[in-house]
Amino acid sequence: MKILVCISHVPDTTSKINFTNGDTAFDTNGVQFVINPNDEYSLTRAIWFKEKQGATVTVVNVGGADTEATLRKALAIGADEAIRVNADPADGMYVAKQLAEVVKNGGFDLVLAGKESLDYNGGMVPGMLAAFLGYDFINSCEGLEIEGTSVKAIRQIDGGKETISGKLPIVIGGQKGLVDEKDLRIPNMRGIMSARTKALAVVEPVGAEVTTKDVKFEKPAAKSACKMISPDNIDELISLLHNEAKVI
């Protein structure tokens, strides 16, 4: 099985989010970047397939040279090789088009991604990628088994879950649940050393339309202070929730 895992290079959750160029661009200054957590669940599952069932795992990112450290981290925790599409990930449609090209050229039969990235929160690339490829697509996937070309997946739905069966090739939008938290890997020294010699191919983008553009960013207005209520005065809380907040 040839697996491709799509990796987003995103600011660590604890990063302060600031903008630059008159609030038109994300300020990467001093920001620590990580593998997008939803993608990490998918990557970890891919490595499980490799180790237990036999597969090759390629990771891909659409981005500038600065994202290579994130790809190297994916190699350090077990991916075999990496591809970087050398382009600004302008919008979801553009990125999906680039990834579709990588899938076609590499003949991948299982494409794993995260259901959403934690920076722009678009949540659209996996579905668009599947649509461009004409592959089936399972989103919000929290369980995945492959036997031969048969796919069995668990999808989170509002208020529960459903079991879906299908066939390879397929695109998966992964999330928490795909692997146990304890199975997430931290790169060890051996992994980091071997990652340095694994192949990281840089490919040029194909022409694709950019359909959306962030014209300006804005930070939420400062929140007013929390109203503190004495634990001996629960009636006041109820009164505030009823009369002021009007939520009960």
Partner: protein, 322 residues
């Protein structure tokens, strides 16, 4: 040209988000000088949509669509948009709609924006405000394509009643076998309980509750408020509660009217997932807990004393205001 919405229903009844979508689409349609068309799947009585601004309903009735299927539903929405010549398609942010939406966008060659929190700032150019960076920022995003698809964040617009009635007509889009290549083998759904996705009130417990045996009071609090139960990541990782209840950045997102965090200190990942809730209450013994920084109301106190009292007082309140 009309603005198209996909009005989601469950067991024949429209979801609240469908009515919110209709209310929103009406305002968008007014600014574009057009009308609102809703496409529905296996909904019998569609008259309720008219009360929230829908002018026309395309009713799809098809047994093959009895369970949700993203490809097939996307095909239905695409064909409805083409039939209506819609330039703007508005979808909700349920798990199902967000699953189908990117497929719709590709099929219509449309720019797509999710997490939209307000009416378009302008319609030419078409610019929407959306949540990004896990609620730490807003993006003002321009959609430059001829057809636009947007997904409205839950509870960001509210319900606006309108006068008028929706004209319903049957619509039979042509579906092909490829739309049904995935098979749903089984659905496990909690019945008779409010889900986190649909709830107006969510009551959430954290490690401060010391153990799963202490959850009764959290359940009581949720019950008296008619709310859904949730928990923090450590609680689900420790196996105290099912991961179905885990809310936060890697868990389920919460955009409720009222979110009550009991014994949750408020890790940044937790806050990122629940911050879209309108009113937040924190109950914690530690006055320095980060959740107080984002909460609207806070009680520094022992949950084991505060919560049972709150439950009793809420019961009295509900009895009086019933």
């Amino acid at each position: 040209m009309s603005v198209l919405i996909y009005a989601e229903s469950a067991e024949g009844k429209f979801k609240k988000v469908a009515l919110e979508l209709a209310s929103y689409a009406k305002k968008v349609a007014e600014s574009l000088g057009t009308t609102v068309t809703a496409v529905t799947v296996n909904a019998s009585d569609v008259s309720e949509l008219g009360k929230y601004g829908v002018d026309k309903v395309l009713k799809v009735t098809n047994d093959k669509l009895a369970t949700f299927n993203a490809k097939a539903y996307a095909d239905v929405i695409k064909q409805a948009a083409q039939k209506e010549g819609s330039k703007v398609v508005v979808l909700s942010s349920t798990t199902d709609s967000l699953y189908a939406a990117p497929i719709v966008a590709v099929a219509l060659n449309a720019g797509f924006a999710t997490n939209v929190v307000a009416l378009p700032e302008s319609t030419s150019p078409f610019v929407v405000k959306r949540n990004s960076f896990s609620t730490k920022a807003f993006s003002h995003t321009e959609l430059t394509t001829d057809v636009k698809v947007i997904a409205l964040a839950k509870n960001s617009f509210g319900l606006v009643e309108a006068t008028g009635a929706a004209a319903a007509e049957d619509f039979a889009p042509s579906l092909n076998d490829a739309d049904f290549s995935l098979k749903v083998e089984g659905v496990e759904k909690v019945s008779g309980k409010v889900t986190i996705a649909d709830a107006d009130v969510v009551v959430s417990g954290g490690r401060g509750l010391k153990g799963p045996e202490n959850w009764k009071m959290i359940e009581d609090l949720a019950e008296v408020l008619g709310g859904a139960l949730a928990c923090s990541k450590p609680v689900s990782d420790l196996g105290w509660r099912s991961h179905e209840e885990h809310v936060g950045q890697t868990g389920k997102p919460v955009a409720a009217n009222l979110y009550i965090a009991v014994g949750i200190s408020g890790a940044i990942q937790h806050i990122a997932g629940v911050n879209s809730s309108k009113v937040k209450v924190a109950i914690n013994t530690d006055a320095e807990a980060p959740f107080f920084k984002v909460a609207d109301y806070g009680i520094v106190g022992d949950a084991f004393q505060v919560v049972p009292q709150l439950v009793e007082k809420l019961k009295e309140f509900k009895a009086k205001n019933a």
